[in-house]
Symmetry: D2
Subunit: 354 residues, 4 copies
């Protein structure tokens, strides 16, 4: 069976590079071209790549970056992975969908659109049906988004707990990695030895995306779940890995053991279908008193090829009737490129790709 | 008027060094001796001091560290500032109080003792009367503690809001500086590029101390305030300055403007009495979208001599009926040595020192 | 006596901000205006300032940034301090000198010009006479440069040693701070936990500037000193303070004690004239086994107002007939704005300003 | 063919953990036991391991640490890899050799002993014959050391250049990683944003080890090579990877191209014998203007299993007749555990193990 040819947009940024990493030797997809802004036109991928924990094949290192040209892309590729910044992503992705393309994107521009899903295969595979209503684009094109990097990491644990115990209120504070700000991103003079308690639109995204992801979908649109999210977001001098503190008020009164079991036993459709990039267990529960930590745990707990695709939960505690925990996830893998690759794998496995 | 001679215990640690900084040229107090463990006996203060933002006089740099000897201390000094680790602090401070000494300590050992106050002059100066019940020590000796470094920073904003709007629930996540772990403290291999989501007993302290500080005192003991605190504590690679995210549920429904005013207009007895180390305004409200930040704001907003003694609040927002904000304070000044120096100044000003 | 009105160019960058810091309350100079690119036009200085170890007066914080307009500047100010990037500095500074202005600049553009001095008052105050030959600018205008930040730090120790023992070969490796790259400068993803062994044109500057600074001047131009410099330059994740390792081959064979004395006893014309920003001793020798260190020593060893204006030398050792040492200096104070302010003070003190 | 059973000493430290990493699935060696101080007795390896770029098998994670007991070790293991601190290593390793054991050690204690080789298979495989003269230990036991982490990285490039062009003088400045200081090692308060220009005995080691390694051996002992080394050593806030700046004076006058070729074409006996941990090319030459950098290059350029075993050279330049370059190597792999594992592989391949 021949592989599906895919284009990677925004291939020079941190998310774009992670797309290339996820797609090296992928069983379903084959990179047709890497696209970025004119500034990088003609450069070798190997000249711009900057990932600390990954090596690329010589072939990949030698690929030349091309300028984004929507006609060319839609003629040559069957599917698009988009890692372009949100400012650009809105119109570009609409145009590509308008040309009949399947667009799997990390950008936030279309996430809250009426029939665009924020898809996480372990949580809401049924939301995929929303693409049928994206007729504004015609020609069978559509857009599927992965969640914001901070929402993704806690979405799986929250879903695993919601369906068993019912979520009422979720208080989250983030300790977000520098790679989430793109490249060049945060100036080093602001980052070294500092915490920046502001990430543009991040709190708003978390407060609206999570209830959409865990909510329902019908032809009338998405119906958000009815728990509340209160988010505080901050940037810390960590390279990769968003750590998040959670305080949860449940509708019921589960024991800490119930909670721990619900998390570690959780499996979703990504696991049932054995999607290539799916981790064996989407949620890893650690019992040490001081984990998870970004530098030691951000890649852990998954098979080799799917490293960085699970959420790691630790320090599950109780206080005044609330449940507390810390959650770590990889912001440019599961919370970025990996999320969209997994979504495309779901579409392939379920025969939703044209 | 002659100055009161004071001994500094644990003078070689980060808190001890801050005591020395606060006491240089102090109008009330004069350092009689610096004391530490045997390992440092005879060393010059200048050989061990490590503070990035402060210079000491040649005279101070030349002071020789002495081994802690309780008889000697109680004979030579009138008052003790203690920056020794909690493991040691319990019995040592009891013994000193037993010798009739006034002990102002940063250690946590006695904070929850029945008649020992956790004193913050802007909040609960009336708690000072609890020392009259510390008769177990005899001879007029007593112990006064300052709050844990994470509790201190938010105690003033919480108090200013509680008395106006009534606190119901407080959710706090901390971004705590490395200097809070003492020296040598956190190994650099664990700190660089990392977040450690665990600080021993810190969450428990925050959840119990804050309600004691904001509660009442009668001869029967302390009566905690009745709001709830849910704390998540983490260490980040910052040198000085604890940043904390807050989500607050009030009993009433103040506007963001009401909240901001209540904070910036707040003054306490430390200001009324014009205590030497008291900041002009104990709470500074910043309106920029991305402040306060440890590297830029940890020392700001106070007169020269009392730098690092205020709490800085920023990003006051509303979400789902909850109020959100970030608070920054200096963990080894206001949240450490400075807290105890201010307490001793209150005692002096009110004639409570023998 | 009325003060001289000065304009600061490039006032929003790290060097520009240090100019403002050095000029607050200055006895000779008064800031007429702060100038920067159009992007900052109308912003308050307080909104852009980012210096970790310094506080500004409310008045300074409120100054509005103006767009650079050469006619306006030359009409309103008597003297210009320039902290603009080298790309822009060349023509802009020539134009200002052409309008008859005295330009004291940190930019590298004109440093190797035939009659433009790289002035360090402790070393080559006689080079100031070169401005008389800058007749290309007419109207009495001229340009005086301070040395590159890496050259400055070691220039004073090298000069103190050259005149006593004769330099033959100088091997220098730098550990340069992030603030030397300007703002936004180095992206944090490249800086955290890393060393970057390349700084554009820095090695070439060090290898040519030092021999010009320590050389002679006659009306025919500058005659470089005849020792050789071999430089390796690297950027490290430090905020302020360039540390440099030196290996020196002398023409004679001084003892380590001779070397140490020559350094610590060194004084120059800046000290004789008691220039306002001059440190009491331009070179501080430390004898501890592990100093100087950027975080502890970068500001030390000078009177309050002239902090960061000395070079600190440590670890003076011998190996195979070569002398080894480490030198630390503040790259945006002595090695930046402070260098030019001191130069202007020299001109004022010697009556060279029109 | 059955594998050789090996003991790892000091298994809880950074070097010990790297030994375990190098030995996982090793074709020649099988871990018989992990040994450390009493403090770690009975702990699982998985509970103490802290390596950011490596995952261990469940089996390895479950191994229990044992207290060092020389009789037990010498009875159960055929060969010892030692990662214990130098303070302890001296007598312990002598005792083990005295029991007839082959000891391959990273410790510095015996490096300058009369008949103990500092072995690097690419450079001086003939030095292995020195073990025949270690008769003081009797029973066929002997000690083989790998070089100090800073010496190792530059030893291969220096050797490749010495045999072609003749070394005269070598000036080296180091930018050394935190992992080189062991665990807990450097306190984070001293590391964040700082450079420490002192590493105990490091400069002395570099100045004496390199000439021993590149020198000759006869039954009378080692004869050092006759070039001179002048070293300045400093610690920077990098996790893994020692970067070093070099300035070299050759006896001849090679072109930069000659130098580059001599480095990249260099192969040694480790490559001829295809030792399992040997990199395909021991020296990698990079031509980008700003490489090598620790975070991007410390593991690169080698086959999967032998990651971190090559030296990467970049920025080869000329200045005043001297050659300048930067060299990067992995301080706990090639410069630590990997060095000794490669030495033991050489012994196995050449039939030198009993």
């Amino acid at each position: 069976m021949s592989k599906i040819s895919v284009a990677v947009l925004g291939a020079t940024g941190p998310i774009g590079q992670r797309f290339v990493q996820m797609l090296e030797g992928h069983p379903y997809f084959e990179v047709e071209g890497l696209y970025a802004s004119e500034r990088s036109d003609g450069k070798r991928f190997g000249d711009i790549v900057k990932i600390r924990d990954c090596e690329f094949s010589d072939e990949t290192m030698g690929i030349r970056i091309k300028t984004m040209d929507i006609d060319r892309i839609s003629k040559n590729a069957e599917l698009v992975f988009s890692g372009i910044p949100s400012e650009l992503a809105g119109p570009t992705e609409s145009e590509l969908a308008g040309k009949g393309m399947a667009v799997f994107t990390n950008a936030g521009s279309h996430r809250m659109d009426r029939h665009v899903p924020i898809l996480i295969p372990e949580i809401n595979p049924d939301h995929a049906s929303s693409i049928e209503q994206q007729d504004t684009y015609g020609n069978g094109g559509y857009i599927v988004t992965n969640a914001n990097c901070s929402s993704t990491g806690i979405a799986m644990p929250l879903f695993a707990l919601d369906r068993k115990f019912g979520l009422d209120e979720v208080f989250v504070s983030t300790y977000q990695a520098l790679s989430g700000a793109g490249y060049p991103g945060v100036p080093s003079l602001d980052a070294v030895g500092n915490v920046i308690p502001f990430i543009d639109k991040e709190e708003e995204k978390m407060e609206s995306e999570l209830t959409k992801i865990l909510g329902g979908y019908s032809k009338d649109g998405f119906k958000p779940a009815d728990f509340k999210v209160m988010a505080n977001c901050a940037r810390v001098p960590v390279v990769d890995g968003h750590l998040e503190s959670l305080v949860i008020k449940f509708e019921s009164s589960p024991s800490l053991e119930d909670i721990s079991c619900a998390l570690s036993e959780f499996r979703g459709e990504a696991q049932t279908l054995k999607l290539p990039s799916a981790p064996d267990a989407p949620i890893i529960v650690r019992t040490e008193k001081n984990r998870p930590q970004p530098i030691y745990d951000v890649l852990a707990g998954s098979p080799e090829r799917a490293k960085g695709m699970a959420s790691t939960v630790g320090r599950i505690r109780e206080s005044n009737g609330f449940c507390k925990m810390f959650v770590l996830s990889h912001n440019t893998l599961r919370g970025g490129a990996g999320g969209s690759v997994l979504n495309a794998e779901l579409f392939k496995a379920k025969g939703l790709l044209r």
